[in-house]
Amino acid sequence: MAELRVPKLNNNDTEYLVVEWLAPDGAEVGEEDPVVVVETSKAAEELPAGASGALRHVVGAGAWCRPDEVIATIGAPAEAVVPREHTHEGAEPLVTAPAQALIDELGLTPEQVRGLGVAVVRRADVERLATAHPPAGIELSRGQRAVARTVALSHRTVPAAYLAVRMDLGPALDYARARTKEIRRPVGLAEIFVQAVAGLHARFPLFFATPGDTHATMSDKPDIGVTLDLGNGLYVPVIHDAAARTLKEIAATLMRHRLAATSGEFKEADLTGANFVVTLHTEGGVVLAIPLVFPGTACALAVTSPGDGTPADIGLAYDHRLINGRDAALFMSALKESVEELR
């Protein structure tokens, strides 16, 4: 196999610029064929291959090389080089940045964009597309679009598993009614489960962790999010450091959150930082609910309640990367115990 070395082209320079390969990598070249342009500080020089065979570039265009450096090899016809395909079939149109932003916002498909039949897609074209094909049905509210994003992200990133345990909530509901009178704040299943879950933080710290690819970030206190939807959209306000709070404090905080949910006037701090989410499905005789695991948390507890409070199936959706079925069963068993023994 022959080598193409850069000759000493002038005495002033210690290196030359490889300006351009005239023959592509893998090309069959003849001895006399010029294959590369190198440039000294004063002139350009084409170098012949110097041998016949398949040319293999050793350095790329734009590289600097020293005199006598090998910049290519010329060998026996090598294995057939598959030329890189440049297919123009169904060529994608060029999309400007403003147009792309609108496409993303409207969630248009590549087919719809291609259907415009223009070589350059501009924002005005996308606007035209949006007007010509208004999205069927109703427009989603800002809040619902945020929910949609969270749901999509959850399904894309969290490998969730689910487990349900049957619990007798009758005594707990009696207990709630008694405590409501006593502390003059409404106490229901939400308050009871927030307190019960928070009580498990010390024994089951992984259930309050934030999963990562190789590490889980632990939380030093349980910050329990509770789903609230009073008809104005879904909110997940947080009861921070729930383990350190009395039932009265929890009830007061949830009451404040319910009021905020009617108007949507939450403080940012109310809605951030949950490391465990309790989802409430206590209306309309729901017997089974599979909540999504919010990205950044490991679990979501689904609280369902038949009207009479007798056997209810309480479910746990959990991130299977972090929590195995056995741990989930132990957690739910402990939860069942603490809820059922409320008197």
Binding site: A44, L94, T96, R122
Partner: protein, 321 residues
Amino acid sequence: MRVAEDLNAALHRLMDHDPGLYVLGEDVLDPYGGAFKITRGLSTRFPDRVLTTPISESAITGVAAGLALSGDRAIVEIMFGDFAALAFDQLMNFAAKSVSMYGTRVPMRMVVRCPVGGGRGYGPTHSQSPQKHFVGIPGLALYEVSPFHDNLAVFEEMLWRGEPCVLFEDKVLYTRPMHAVEPPFSVERAGGVARVFLDDQPDCVIVAPGGVAHRVLAAMRSLLLEEEIVATLLVPSRLYPFDADIPAARRVFVVEESTGGGTWGAEVAHLVHQRHWDRLDGPVTLIHSADSVIPTAAHLEREVLVDAAAIHRVIRKVIRG
């Protein structure tokens, strides 16, 4: 075909067709064929009419003017266009004047080829774009090589003019392909002016010679994709006297690699103002290299020379505010 090959092929055809045509320059004989190989092969084919010369730009240009005055044709290669300054007197006071100072018009058929421009780290005296210094000399026409103009046709036009011509050749063009524009842009030629355009009504027109055309095209592409600013590029083959139909647009830019101050672009701007002031939103904007000596070190040279990013930045600022 690359620009260098196109130039070389054009010279071969001209020498072949015109037995009265001479090529003169330093180191133009084979096998060297000139510093940038544009004259390669000519001396082998036409040994009597390809003359290698001592290092004296004034003398070479003077001989060419003498040949032209005697009714022959001559093409001079200046190795680096910066040294055309040494031939300035021959061009301004002798060759250009000879056309008209003998009572009757005397055709002077000669072309001085000048490799120009930076971007290769050649330093202060081998990187300049001296076009501006030759603008406005009566009887001297200035041309610039572009990837969109067939070089044979350009040479024929220059020799046909009967006036001495200077042909500027941006060195970075030599390795670039002829006639290439990336979609979605198209190119067409009308008269001596190539137009690179989209089908839409342009937001602005850019006038630029061939040496910076690829930098302007890169800026046009980024302006389109990032800002939806549509530009039409005009690449004139002849820089002076300048004449081009400016498509209707409210903004006009002139891009050139010459350093700031007394530029060719200022001459173009003046003409555009005279003709189209009523339909413009503002003065023609000049985009050129910094008013500076051109440094050798690559990172310092980049700061001085006009590039695609600077073109994008200026046009965006003028149009979007």
